[in-house]
């Protein structure tokens, strides 16, 4: 069956979703009195118009790749990690701490340690719902949501208390040491190029997650549990351990998102007034990519561009930032109800029926 699939077939639904999303966005802009052509032109120009714009777009894409991967790993084991949002926050806190507290370490040591602090904190945060799920069967969605709020309020406390920069009364942590900062490889061209090696870490993470899920025994177990936990158990697999592993990996990926955000972009922990949304957007990223790690690179690119676009469209064309939120929602909606949508679009049905015929022929 899979041998017959054309390379673009899994892309059909996401592409249709994107086009429909943008069209609905255009209608909304017309209804609210904005010019959709100017709006989308601002999206493209603001995202890809110049080197600095593209650099900023990559900054938006970067955390979404990590959270997309995080959600995908958990989902492979049949778990829904809504807690990525909180795992990012503790990842940011831990790496911000390691970034300034261990000043003096050589770069070669400081960067991996700071990254590991972020990953460890994320994993720890995911371990709580993971353990409760594996041990007692408590639903991970409820627990991971609660862990999000604990993380948010813990961060308020820490950043107005123990982790606060002593030089200020404002809620942020001290700058991390230069030895803990990721290399902004375009900085020779100007200080405002914030793109950093975090984007390569993200690509590497996607490759590693693919390898883990599809080329290792652990990955096989994780996927078997996600596919059907009962039959996996019947086959003699330790389902609890597979779930716990998936949750830990998921948490450390989300923690990594936070670490890279601190080490490459912010250089400190800035108090959050609410959730940043990278964790929630990661669900959309993973969904559109159907949990495929390489697909996540692409859908992370799409959602990151839309995120950047929501800002540039507002600044350059006066389009409310919520418009892009709706475009995103439409895309998610259509991808999520794939089966239904296939029935709606006559062309698609033809395409899929063609496939079926071919399969029958073979």
């Amino acid at each position: 069956m899979t041998t017959n699939k054309k390379w673009w077939q899994p892309l059909a639904i996401p592409i249709i979703a994107i086009i429909l999303g943008l069209l609905i966005g255009a209608v909304l802009m017309l209804l609210t009195g904005a010019n959709p052509i100017a709006g989308y032109a601002a999206l493209l120009r603001g995202s890809f118009g110049s080197a600095i714009d593209f650099s900023e777009t990559l900054i938006y894409i970067n955390p979404l790749i990590f959270t997309g991967l995080s959600i995908a790993v958990a989902y492979s084991a049949g778990l829904f990690n809504i807690g990525a949002e909180g795992q990012i926050i503790v990842g940011m806190l831990a790496s911000a701490y390691a970034g300034y507290a261990f000043a003096g370490l050589p770069r070669l040591l400081h960067i991996p340690i700071t990254l590991l602090f972020g990953m460890g904190a994320g994993a720890l945060w995911a371990a709580v719902p993971g353990y409760l799920k594996a041990k007692f069967g408590v639903h991970e969605v409820v627990n991971s949501i609660m862990m999000n709020y604990i993380a948010l309020h813990l961060s308020h406390y820490l950043v107005t208390g123990p982790l606060q920069d002593p030089k200020t009364t404002l809620p942020y942590s001290p700058d991390i040491a230069p030895t803990a900062r990721l290399w902004r490889f375009l900085s020779p061209f100007g200080d405002h190029f914030r793109v950093n090696t975090g984007i390569f870490i993200a690509i590497l993470a996607a490759i590693l997650v693919y390898w883990l899920l599809y080329k290792t025994t652990t990955g096989y177990e994780i996927r078997a549990v996600g596919f059907n936990a009962d039959s996996a158990r019947y086959a003699g697999m330790d389902t609890s351990s597979a779930m716990a592993k998936a949750m830990l990996i998921s948490g450390s990926l989300a923690g990594l998102a936070g670490a890279v955000q601190v080490m490459g972009v912010q250089f400190k922990f800035l108090d959050l007034f609410g959730f940043e949304g990278f964790g929630f957007d990661g669900i959309a990223v993973a969904l559109v990519a159907k949990n495929n790690p390489f697909g996540i690179l692409a859908s992370g690119f799409l959602f990151g561009t839309l995120h950047r676009g929501s800002q540039t469209m507002q600044a350059m064309a006066g389009v409310p930032k919520e418009t892009i939120g709706i475009v995103q929602a439409v895309i998610i909606f259509i991808v999520a109800m794939e089966g239904l949508v296939q029935g709606w679009i006559p062309g698609l049905e033809k395409i899929t029926s063609l496939f079926k015929k071919k399969e029958a022929d073979v």
């Binding site: 054309k6 405002h192 949304g277 800002q311 540039t312 395409i351």
Partner: protein
């Protein structure tokens, strides 16, 4: 099959080519002014919306070309400021102290552009050297909040009032300090219940906190919590107690419930500050707006539900504070001292 995939690609490419064709032919005749909002964003009917009012006044009254961006995450501040500077805006505002760091960085990169920040300030040394293109704007929230404290104390029947803060940080603590000092200047025996909800954008939390205060007999509640405070007003309206609004005149939110509002004229700050920065001989400094400068104060008379006696008392204090005869404490820890001094 090949064909249809080619067609899809062609369609996308076609779209991509058509879109950027739309021109950008704005001629910068009038000054261009833009705002970067913090993550609180528009629609709080309070702080951010007040800044927006100032921006709209520049547009409607003076015909300026205006724009704005609402940041989604703290990482957005810097690129948003940079983006507007590159778009050629003459004056760019950061609304909220959260943008302090970002403005410091971007103002150095764009020395020809003027930057203003609401609720934050830099050192005189920075103004004289690296930040010669920056205007800081601070408000004496504690002075306005003191008047609200007086109104609350004159209005309460249960001798219990409440204060709801967003996040416990110095700019918000100024509201708490002023309010407490105002209440206790009338009657030191009044109980003040304080609650920091930890969020500026969560009406549900504001409502829950207020419900609990009302259960503990509070009958006048005041907030400095942005959108969270809308939940406070809703709770007060449902249970028939008084609410005091903040930043903007919040009378319209619940006309029979909002006793008065501690107005912080952020719009005046944005409007006057912009004009100041557009002067050719602009010098970087901090503009401090208190009662004396009419930067904070009571809501207009038509939005006032307090009794004439309470209002008269508040106005009396306002005069004293504006004249410098009484100094309102800035920090909650100083409040009890201030009261005993009186």
């Amino acid at each position: 099959m090949r064909k249809s995939s080619v067609r899809v690609l062609a369609l996308i490419l076609g779209l991509l080519m058509v879109l950027p064709a739309a021109g950008f032919a704005a001629e910068p005749v009038k000054p261009r002014v833009a705002i970067v909002f913090d993550v609180g964003g528009l629609g709080d009917q309070s702080f951010n919306d007040a800044a927006y009012v100032g921006l709209m006044r520049l547009k409607d009254e003076l015909g300026y070309d205006v724009g704005y961006v609402e940041s989604r995450t703290p990482s957005d501040y810097e690129p948003n400021l940079t983006m507007l500077a590159r778009e050629g805006y003459d004056v760019i505002w950061g609304i909220g102290f959260l943008l302090e760091d970002a403005i410091r960085k971007v103002a150095i990169q764009y020395p020809e552009t003027k930057f203003g920040i609401i609720d934050s300030a830099y050192s005189d040394e920075e103004y004289a050297t690296s930040l010669q293109n920056v205007l800081g704007v601070l408000f004496k929230e504690h002075e306005g909040s003191f008047l609200m404290g007086v109104l609350a104390a004159e209005t309460t029947k249960t001798n219990t009032v409440g204060f709801i803060g967003g996040i416990q940080i110095p700019p918000i603590e100024r509201f708490e300090a002023g309010f407490k000092a105002g209440v206790w200047s009338v009657d030191p025996n009044i109980t003040i219940i304080t609650n920091y909800t930890g969020a500026f954008d969560d009406p549900a939390k504001g409502k829950a906190a207020t419900d609990s205060m009302i259960r503990r007999k509070a009958d006048v509640v005041f907030h400095a919590a942005g959108g969270t405070g809308l939940g406070m007003i809703e709770s007060a309206e449902e249970q028939g107690v008084w609410a005091i609004g903040v930043d903007s005149d919040q009378h319209h939110v619940a006309p029979n419930t909002v006793l008065n509002s501690m107005i912080k004229w952020v719009d005046v700050g944005v409007y006057e500050g912009t004009l100041m920065m557009l002067e050719p001989d602009f010098k970087a400094h901090t503009m401090v707006l208190g009662l004396a400068e009419a930067g904070v104060g009571l809501a207009p008379a038509e939005s006032n539900n307090a009794s004439p006696e309470a209002t008269a008392k508040a106005l009396e204090w306002a005069e004293k504070i504006a004249a410098g005869e009484f100094v309102v404490p800035e920090f909650p820890s100083e409040v009890s001292k201030a009261v005993t001094q009186k």
